[in-house]
Structures are given as C-alpha cells and as structure tokens.
C-alpha cells in the first residue's frame, strides 16, 4: 500500500504560490498498532498525541480521521517542526493550532474523498483539509500528518511527513493538504 501527499499553498487572491507532490515518508507506529488491534481483536497500548499511552478500542471509533472545522486534535494536521520522521513519532514535532492568533491557522473540515476509485491496477481514496491563515502574519508549515482516533476520546498520530521545502502561508492565504491512500495490485 502506497501513501502520497500533495501540498498546495495559495495567496489571498487564490493564486497557487507553492505546490509539492511526493510519496509520503511514512505511516508511523500507531497505525500498525491500530490495524493489529482491529485484525486480532486484541487492543494495544497506543501512545496518544498527548504523550500518554492508552488501550485502543477494537470495536467502534477506531481510525476515525474525518473531523469538522475548528478541531486540530484529529484529521490532517500541520506543524512548524522539521525533525526527521521516525517510526516512533506520536505527534507532530510542533503542531500549529486552530485559530486566528499569532502562528495559528484556521482548520477547515477534514474530509474523506470517497468512494475509493479504481484506475488500472490501483485503488485510491484521499484525505483533504484546508488551513486558512487569518493570523495577520505569515505562518510557515514544515511538517504535516494525520491524527486518527484510537477510541472515542483519544487520538494518535498515524502519518507524519516533513515537507521538502518550507511552505510559508501568507496572511489571507491557505494551505491545502491532500493525502492519497493507494493499494496497488
């Protein structure tokens, strides 16, 4: 299974000022734990984004990613850190929170673009979120990822990537993050 990301930065007029398409560096440990727990029915102790390890659900509320606007605890997330990705990452290095204050970005709804589509030997679906900068100053994004639920109340980082280049989002502009999850036969 392959994972790709696309990052698009636009200015306040909607003009694209930066675009990056790459194969994602990685799923991280929590993803495999959550899948293992689901497949086996044996809940794993998963380190959540707050650094506390908790036992995952093996029933409902497992691996939820979709999230309404205004929440930065689940779905696509962005940050300003650039520490190299490791398999043990349990959060972004320095997450950018939702808001309009200095260094913040407004988190729009995180959507799942479905149903999965088949093209040739591939089957794909996408996860998308837009982050709008109303902070009054540029905000630079250097890392992206996906937080997913491990149970009803808690979330873990399942994907993390460090961008190939800094992505400065001007005031009034926005950054769109799209992950493509693809199975290839």
């Amino acid at each position: 299974m392959k994972l790709f990301y696309e990052v698009i930065v636009k200015d306040k007029h909607g003009r694209v000022i930066l675009r990056e398409n790459k194969e994602s560096r990685s799923w991280v440990m929590a993803y495999n734990q959550l899948v293992y727990g689901g497949m086996s029915g044996s809940g794993q102790s998963v380190k959540c984004t707050d650094g506390v390890s908790r036992t995952q659900s093996t029933t409902y509320d497992l691996l939820l990613v979709a999230r309404p606007a205004g929440y930065h605890n689940r779905g696509c997330v962005v940050g300003s850190g650039n520490a190299p990705v490791t398999i043990n990452d349990y959060k972004l290095e320095t997450q950018i929170n939702h808001g309009v204050g200095p260094g913040q970005l407004e988190h729009y709804e995180c959507t799942i673009l479905y149903p999965p589509s088949v093209a040739g030997s591939q089957c794909s679906f996408r996860v998308k979120r837009i982050f709008h900068n109303a902070s009054g100053a540029p905000v630079t994004v250097r890392e992206i990822g996906v937080y997913a639920s491990i149970s009803n109340n808690y979330d873990a980082c399942v994907i993390r990537d460090v961008l190939g280049a800094d992505a400065p989002v001007p005031h009034g502009g926005a950054i769109t993050v799209i992950y493509t999850v693809r199975a290839i036969a």
């Binding site: 086996s40 044996s42 939820l64 639920s149 036969a185």
Partner: protein
C-alpha cells in the same frame, strides 16, 4: 535468540512498507517439505482500501453511500464504520474470515473480491481443515514496525491438494453478519500431501 528477535532481524532485510508473505508445507510427520521464504505479497486488493476508507470516514450512515463494493460472496454492499474493523481472528473451522487458500491460479487483480476457488472447511475430498488464526506483534526494529498473522491449514482429505492462491478475509460491516471482504490475494503453488499442512504467514510492515 528469541523468536521476536529473529523476526526483527529478518525484518531489517526486507525494509519496505507493505504486505509480505511466507508459506510452509509439512508432511504428515511435521517435516517441512516445501518453503516459500518471505517475499513481497502481490498485493492488498481494493477491499482493503475500502475498509480503511470506511474507518477514516467514521460514519454509521455515510451520505453519499460508501459503496457499492463486492463482499466475498460477490454481492454488492455499502460500507460504514465497522464495529469490528479489519477483524480476521478466525477460530478453528471458521472460513468467513481469516486466511484462506484456494485452487485457482488466475492472476491477481486490484478488483479481486474473493479467492477464485476457495477450499472449503472439512475432511472430505478437496477440503482442508482451518486452524485458528494467530497474531504476533513483532514491534519495532530500527525504523520498521511490523506484525504477523498466520494460519495453519491441515489436509485430512485422503488425497493430495494443490493450493494455488491465498488471501485474507476480514469483517467490514459488523454487526451485520455475512459481510466480509477480501483484503489481499496472492498466488502460491504448493502441493499439500494427505496428512500434511500448509502454513500461510502474512507480515504487515511500515517503514519510516
């Protein structure tokens, strides 16, 4: 060296994200007569991505509908977030979920929704006994995180059975019974003597 350490060392030599497959055949005395060492699985098929998508979406009644996708019976179904997502911890004798084997050697396609000719549970002609599916959390070795799931299938049919295909069936729509999808499919080519067994081991691995 512990089994987990052995698996970790072997994992380091196969540093690619994805699904891996190993197959072992034993005779009636337990002697290994054939072994396909761990190799990259041909692939997850579309059912896997549908299942992941359903969990990511997390809705009990998606609108628009998340489907249709074919279940292992070939019927079109719509998915939703599942009460036992990805579940394939099949007990002995269970064939609705877990690792299955079959006799067809049609090439793998992304649209495969079942084995082409799955072998039924039993001891009759052309049948095989499915043991309980097991799971081993391997953990982290360097920048790799992996786990294994394995099933032993015993041939007490009275004659040799030739297995050509294998795959994993899993639940995607609990609590609605009978809604399972095929997560992956691979071609293998193994003769299982009467009294012997085939062990299929899948490894799911992510590499940072």
């Amino acid at each position: 060296m512990s089994y987990a350490s052995f698996l970790m060392q072997r994992d380091k030599s196969n540093a690619q994200t994805g699904l891996w497959l190993a197959v072992k055949v034993t005779d009636r005395n337990g002697k290994v007569i054939s072994r396909q060492r761990q190799r990259k699985s041909h692939s997850f098929v579309q059912g896997w991505n549908w299942a992941v998508c359903a969990q990511f979406l997390g809705q009990s009644a998606p609108s628009p509908a998340l489907g249709p996708v074919k279940n292992t019976a070939g019927s079109n179904v719509n998915l939703r977030t599942c009460g036992s997502p990805f579940r394939c911890n099949a007990g002995a004798g269970v064939t609705s979920t877990g690792i299955r084997v079959g006799t067809d050697n049609t090439l793998v396609a992304i649209t495969d929704y079942a084995l082409k000719a799955p072998i039924a549970q039993g001891t009759g002609p052309g049948q095989i006994e499915h043991q309980a599916q097991t799971f081993t959390w391997i953990g982290i070795a360097g920048n790799i995180c992996s786990f294994q799931t394995e099933r032993v299938l015993v041939n007490n049919s009275g004659a040799q059975i030739t297995v050509h295909e294998t795959g994993i069936y899993m639940t995607v729509f609990y609590p609605t019974a009978g809604t399972e999808i095929c997560a992956c499919r691979d071609l293998i080519n193994q003769d299982i003597p009467d009294g012997g067994s085939v062990t299929v081991t899948y490894t799911i691995r992510i590499v940072a």
